[in-house]
């Protein structure tokens, strides 16, 4: 899109009306119904922006990201600016009361997941009490027997969690998926905010949008609190798989924001059951490792022996209590899609509380009755393999062809334990700038989700807002970045 704002303003017609979609919860239209002194007027203002203003916002944002491109992203071959996750300048707004509820629900959820992880690698009480089937846990590929008996500092297996939320037709938030291994995306949240602050400074000030710039400091604080040796300045490092990983930009960004060293496997050494990094001035012991590589690659002594991304002996260092990992080994047992069905039970079991955030109804295909029901009406359900991430392998019944459904039916029958089914949820939509064939921009509703980031340190904290992802293709429900999604700045309004 290379037209300048002024060219665009000559091209466009009178401002077009924004149409809501039948049966869907349109977040902005709903907000516009609020009293003006709350978010009503903000929403109105955003919805009635003329095409010229949309074009201007879009190209200013584009330019800003290009300029910042020198400092962010671009580990691709050409070295030019390639922003992996396109940005939409229309902010996603959440009012203060809604956020208060969400925040409480998120903290509750992550605390329960953390307790679950500690339990399954320890006593296994929840399985003994028959609340979660033991075979479901043990058959989970992410259940790491190698981690049994390891107690992390503060009891925190999870330090950073990304909990994906969606809204249904009545506007209620549901948890779609948990991510407690190496959740990513917070760098986009922070970069988007920097750009938005320059794009709409007055509106942001008027809305009293809650600040998020303290996130790096909060994350650093949580990591410090995990240090086994509580001396003045524990050494913290971020373990990256290296520049060929698609999230490398975020690794660099976070290590810079946190002021910590970024290391690769080859920079590390385990000696005398301590973890060190190889610096020019000698070996320096690491107290906390913020690792952004999967368990499989972490320690060639106990996991994949061919891995060059981790360091041999790390599990022993962990067991000896000489290093803390954020996040710990084996947390994937808690974000397994089949275990997900039991998360409300976990909240009740460990916290004795009623779950604040509901999950989407989930049917395990290993259960014969559920399987029959789902396969007989397969076009009404979303079928997900429990093992995949990134939205891959997901089949959305109503959108799939007869052939795809046949294939899915066969796959489920062949390996039922590996599949779950959920009813299709009509996700909420949000006005997003879409250019027509002539290059004229207008607002169109697009499906949207939210990934808030929850930190567990000595006490839990939630980043206000999170990463809002939109599916840029009309009607598409898949918002994940690796498959054609975009992102928006998320505003949590001050009380």
């Amino acid at each position: 899109m290379s037209a300048t704002a002024s060219e665009l303003s000559r091209m466009m017609p009178a401002s077009s009306a924004y149409c809501c979609r039948e049966g869907l919860f349109d977040e902005m239209i709903e907000l516009a119904k609020s009293p003006p002194e709350r978010c009503g007027s903000i929403a109105h203002g955003l919805l009635s922006m003329p095409s010229a203003r949309l074009a201007e916002l879009w190209s200013r944002a584009d330019l800003m990201f290009r300029r910042r491109g020198a400092t962010f992203n671009v580990y691709g071959e050409q070295g030019g600016v390639e922003r992996i996750l396109p940005f939409d300048p229309i902010p996603r707004i959440i009012d203060a009361e809604t956020w208060t509820q969400l925040e409480a629900g998120l903290i509750q959820r992550v605390r329960a997941l953390n307790a679950f992880i500690g339990d399954v690698y320890g006593e296994g009480a929840i399985m003994k009490d028959g609340v979660v089937p033991r075979d479901l846990v043990l058959s989970c590929p992410q259940f790491r027997r190698e981690a049994a008996g390891i107690r992390p500092p503060l009891g925190n297996f999870i330090t950073v969690g990304g909990i994906d939320l969606v809204r249904g037709p009545d506007g209620r938030f549901f948890v779609l998926e948990d991510n407690v291994r190496t959740p990513s995306g917070v760098s986009y949240v922070l970069e988007n905010r920097v750009v938005m602050t320059r794009l709409m400074p007055d509106l942001m000030r008027a809305a009293a949008v809650r600040s998020i710039e303290h996130y790096p400091a909060d994350l650093l604080q949580c990591l410090i609190e995990m240090a086994p040796r509580q001396n003045a300045r524990p050494t913290i490092a971020l373990l990256t798989p290296g520049p060929f990983n698609s999230a490398f930009f975020e690794h660099v960004f976070l290590s810079q924001q946190l002021g910590i060293d970024m290391v690769e496997g080859q920079d590390l050494l385990c000696m005398d059951h301590k973890l060190y990094m190889k610096t020019v001035h000698g070996l320096r012991q690491i107290d906390v490792l913020y690792r952004r590589i999967d368990d499989d690659f972490l320690d060639p002594l106990v996991f994949r022996p061919d891995s060059m991304l981790g360091v041999a002996g790390l599990t022993s260092v962990l067991r000896a209590g000489n290093v803390a990992l954020a996040n710990g080994i084996g947390t994937g047992v808690a974000d397994d899609k089949a275990i997900y069905a039991y998360t409300p039970a976990m909240i009740r079991y460990y916290l004795g509380e009623t779950p604040i955030l509901p999950i989407v109804e989930t049917y395990l295909m290993r259960d014969p009755a559920a399987r029959d029901e789902v396969l007989n009406h397969i076009d009404r359900y979303v079928i997900k393999p429990t093992g995949e991430s990134g939205g891959y392998g997901v089949v959305i019944g109503p959108h799939a062809s007869e052939k795809e459904l046949e294939g899915t039916r066969a796959r489920v029958l062949h390996d039922p334990a590996n599949y779950i089914a959920q009813p299709v949820l009509s996700l909420s939509v949000h006005p997003t700038i879409i250019f027509d064939a002539a290059g004229t921009p207008s607002l169109e509703p697009r499906h949207i989700d939210l990934r808030p980031f929850v930190l567990l340190g000595a006490k839990p904290r939630v980043l206000p807002g999170g990463l809002s992802r939109v599916a840029l293709r009309r009607g598409s429900l898949v918002v994940n970045s690796s498959q054609g999604g975009g992102s928006k700045d998320t505003w949590v309004l001050g009380a």
Binding site: M127, P133, R134, D135, L138, S139, R145, E146, A148, G149, L269, C270, M271, D272, H273, P300, L301, V302, P305, A312, G313, S316, R319, A320
Partner: protein
Amino acid sequence: MTMRLRICHTTRFTYDEPAYQSHNQIRMRPLESADQSCVEFALEITPAGETLEFQDYYGNHVAAVSIHDPHDSLTIMARSLVERVSEPAPSTDAMSFEQFLRDDRQRILSQYDFLSASPYAPFSDRMRKFFWIARPRTDEDVAGYVQRVVAFVRDQFYYRPGVTKVHSTVDEILTTGAGVCQDFAHLTIAILRLAGVPARYVSGYLAPRRHPSGKTPVGSQASHAWLEAQLPYQGWIGFDPTNGCRADFRHIRVAVGRDYSDVPPLRGVYRSFGRLQTMSVDLKLESEAGENPAGDGLSQRQEQQ
């Protein structure tokens, strides 16, 4: 009947170019149970390294040892003194498979690991076909079936080193018809699991029979592998398919798990500019003077005849 057995298990690695940054996990400390106690244990590693001791997921004793500096060879010597009492007489209570499988929901949950496929004992098509040949009858007694399977494996396959490799799965022995104790154990375990009987792999030592002359031969053997099956009324009972018999007090248990992948006596990674690692193993098993190490009264009589 008690036996005290002294075990000295020495493994030596030599390298064509010095090895360094060597990280190892050692599972050589005999387990404690009702009929086996480890009275003494010492692990000597040359060159010495920082050692961390813990118990793994299956309760096995593990020593995690790291040797940082370059070394041309690595010697690991595990010495233990084990006291073994004889197994109680097997129960004669019978339970048919029909009854056994009727109550299996709870068993599937609590013994999941020992009823599922594992890396060395996958439920491949070939394995399933073989199981079909060896499947139990619904009215068959579970304990009797297990004994039948153990004898069947012993009779159908040859004990022959060199045919299979350390990382062979059950498919290999099914193809070649021959293997070593590790393969016999994996195969038997797979059959039992497919039948619904929980089975776990045991790694340990087999004490030698006492020579009729009265002297105990000091043998040079390797670790031995067998299995334990969870039988109704009896709990975990050991069986040795390589020798086609129940495990008795000559079987010294060192580690248990799903299969070999959970219990290798030694697992390690190291760095070196060279490529060759040679390994030699020396195993000495001696009964302590004054105790009778060999069999029960019956077999002694047989030997004297």
